[in-house]
């Protein structure tokens, strides 16, 4: 069920109304769980079995780790859980990739036989919920988390529909306490939290959702056709045309994914749950490391806590730190998809981080240099960072290696030709105008980070104008084709 579909609107109104009307705590929690399973089942049909398997596996592994007093047993249980989770993810996501590579290798050494592909359907959201359930077992193993009080609570943590298919990637310690936040002791009984829909949460949640829809349906979906035209076959295009495509794709991807995240955060907030934000004005990052902290925040904080730090982080030698950074980004590239372009993207962004870290280590005074606090210094930092960020976006978008190399060459070695680009722009005025408007809005958001909170506090009449404006922009510029969210494929 796509967020940008009429089915979701009907589904959400039904869930909201039920929670609003029926105040029984147990019913509310159970209803949310059933609704979340329905949400997933609607899209994925029988693949829901994998979600239930993952939930059961980690619930019992977590419980057993907690109960066990032996370190060895705890470790064995954790490994079992991880193998179960990552094994499933690996099988569904990477089998065909591995088979393809094996077949390619086979042709070189003349083995002859070709292994047939499995043609498996990638279960929607598997990369997200696998990471989510793994954190639960690991946090219990580390002694940082108590197991969920019941299976149903844990199941709701895994399946909670706003974040189920494309994040934000939740940690159990962020969500489980919200189910019991206001537990009151009545005699010996412990009650679940009653889900109360408050006017402030409702207004803010709807504002965030509306802005998410705007990012996705007004910006991303309307910029996508231009990007597709450029990157479906970039051969022969001018440098500026390729750069326009890269910037367009960066904004499309941001609008698409952060739009999805906003809808998820807003929908959860309407129902009284707080989810972490996934983006923080990434196009105003001043360094590759800063960009990492602002883009897909929950994924990279996951990698930091569950991979980078256990590998030693920056506590060991410089060389080891660089390797750790590089490895994490390589794996994050591979997490995005079983394709070489994602691997290249991971390696490239990893290289950015390593080079940035090496420069910082070699010239420590640069960090505090006065120039980088001047307007020109800030502008240059942002410009250079975005230039290399958009270059990496090219590798993310183009799947054909030949096209990728051509695009990257044109992006780096500017040919300064403009006639073709100008003609292209004249044929695609809307996406170019949208890119410009997007930058203006992004700048405003950068300067006024709490603007949505401010909007949610205005009088109803003004808020109505805000909503109507967004609805009209979406509907009047709807291009007739609801686009899948880009991150659904991961």
């Amino acid at each position: 069920m796509l967020f940008n579909s009429i089915e979701f609107v009907i589904f959400f109104i039904f869930v909201f109304s039920t929670i609003l009307i029926v105040r029984d705590r147990k019913f509310q929690h159970l209803f949310l769980l059933v609704a979340s399973y329905f949400f997933y089942y609607f899209t994925s049909n029988y693949l829901i079995v994998l979600l239930i398997y993952s939930t059961l596996l980690d619930y019992y592994v977590g419980k057993e780790i907690w109960k066990s007093s032996s370190k060895k047993r705890k470790k064995a249980l954790l490994i079992t859980g991880m193998v179960g989770n990552f094994g499933l993810l690996g099988f569904y996501k990477y089998s065909d990739f591995v088979i393809t590579q094996f077949n390619v290798l086979g042709t070189f050494v003349d083995i002859g036989n070709q292994i047939p592909l499995l043609n498996l359907v990638l279960p929607i959201g598997i990369s997200f919920y696998t990471f989510q359930t793994v954190t639960y077992s690991v946090d219990i193993y580390r002694g940082r988390l108590e197991p969920a009080r019941s299976f149903w609570e844990f199941a709701l943590f895994v399946t909670f529909f706003p974040q189920l298919v494309a994040g934000p990637i939740l940690r159990a310690n962020q969500f489980l306490p919200q189910l019991r936040e206001k537990i009151e002791n009545v005699g010996n009984k412990i009650k679940l939290r009653q889900i109360v829909i408050s006017s402030s949460n409702l207004k803010l949640g709807i504002s965030i959702m509306a802005f998410g829809f705007l990012k996705k349906m007004f910006f991303a979906d309307n910029i996508a056709p231009m990007v597709n035209e450029i990157f479906n076959n970039p051969t022969g295009l001018e440098s500026f045309n390729v750069i326009l495509g890269s910037i367009g794709f960066g904004i499309q991807l941001y609008g698409d994914f952060s739009g999805y995240s906003d809808i998820a955060v807003g929908a959860a907030l309407v129902l009284g749950f707080k989810l972490p934000f996934n983006f923080n004005n990434p196009f105003f990052s001043r360094s590759p490391a800063d960009f990492r902290r602002r883009w897909h925040i929950t994924l990279y904080s996951w990698f930091k806590d569950y991979l980078y730090i256990p590998l030693g982080g920056n506590r060991k030698s410089r060389a080891r730190t660089y390797f750790n950074l590089w490895l994490v980004m390589f794996l994050s590239g591979f997490w995005h998809g079983a394709s070489w372009n994602f691997v290249i993207w991971g390696l490239l962004t990893g290289s950015y981080l390593v080079i940035h870290r090496a420069i910082s280590n070699t010239f420590p005074s640069l960090k505090t240099h006065q120039f980088f606090n001047t307007k020109i210094g800030i502008f240059l930092s942002i410009f250079v960072t975005q230039y290399i960020v958009f270059l990496s976006m090219t590798t993310f978008r183009v799947r054909d290696i030949g096209h990728m190399l051509y695009s990257m060459q044109k992006y780096v070695m500017l040919d300064f030709a403009t006639s073709g680009t100008m003609q292209f722009i004249s044929q695609h005025p809307l996406p170019v105008v949208l890119i410009t408007i997007f930058w203006a809005i992004h700048f405003i958001l950068y300067k006024i980070p709490d603007w949505l909170e401010r909007i949610a506090k205005v009088r109803l009449a003004y808020w109505f104008i805000f909503l109507l404006g967004i609805i009209l922009l979406i509907l009047l510029f709807y291009n007739g084709k609801p686009q899948d969210f880009y991150y659904f494929q991961f």
């Binding site: 359907v121 207004k203 479906n232 009209l472 509907l475 009047l476």
Partner: protein, 331 residues
Amino acid sequence: MITGIIVTIFIALILGLAITYYVNDFYRTHFELEKWEDLFYSQHFDPHKKKIYLIGSSQVHRLNATYIEKYISQIYQDYEVYNLGIPGDKPSKRINSLKEIIDTKPAMILYGIAFRDLQGSVQNQIQITDVIGAVKPVDILPEPWNLLYEIIPNKTIIDFSNFDNPQITTLKLFKILQNPNTISQITPDLPNTPFYKYKPENFEIKNFKSPMKKDYEKRERFISNQTRLSDPEVIAMKSIISTLKENNIQVILFSVPYPKISLYKLDDTDIEIFTSTLEEISDEFDVKVYHFYDKYADLNIWADPIHVSMNQKSIIYSSDMAKIILDEIKS
């Protein structure tokens, strides 16, 4: 307070939908296809130019009329080429505008025939699993829209089917608002292609994997083995050709092109029946037939499983057609 917020959201939603509906309806009734047809057939054509029409369905639409005209003009400057393709066109529909076509006195008409054009009714749909080889989850749940239609009578639901791309309407209205004088000069989206409605995706070139799964699921099967010369669409087509010939208009038939992924679904018999039907019509009326149905099957020029892209990189279709026309003019 909560009630107030909910009411505000619903009013904003309903008002937003109502405004969009009104804008699109206003535009459609004032400026769209019917208007274009009237404008095209009633225009004053240059009497010194001979007209060549390309007719057929959306697959004919993918021929670039200006490119063909330019190609021909290298030798013959007195020809104008118009692409009069209409999406979903069939002989039984085209026959209704035959009088208008004849009244404009074209010199030559090239009629593109698709597999489905000779059929009377929609056949069963091709399953995605048949074509792509991917495993599709079994649909157990009912389609939500069907449920809605069961609950609410059809008449009470606003029909948005004509508003398949509000964006185009909005942008055109912006142009009109910028310069109100252009209202009387509303022109089609492509030169010399009066019945074409611009869609950006028609200009994309897609590969044959995941992007087309959805398109493919919805596509009709091309042809049934029952197609015979006695079928209504075949009779309508014969009638069109006969009338055009009576009016001294040269007619050329051509089968429209398909990619391999679509041809793969057809049996040899399907193709044989289709081609032999065209050959029989050709013999009966002494008109030439050119076959494009498998000419570009292996090329990467497709916007979807049945349409050549309108991208410049797919120009081969128009280029080959231009050569045919040139040969016909020479002969």
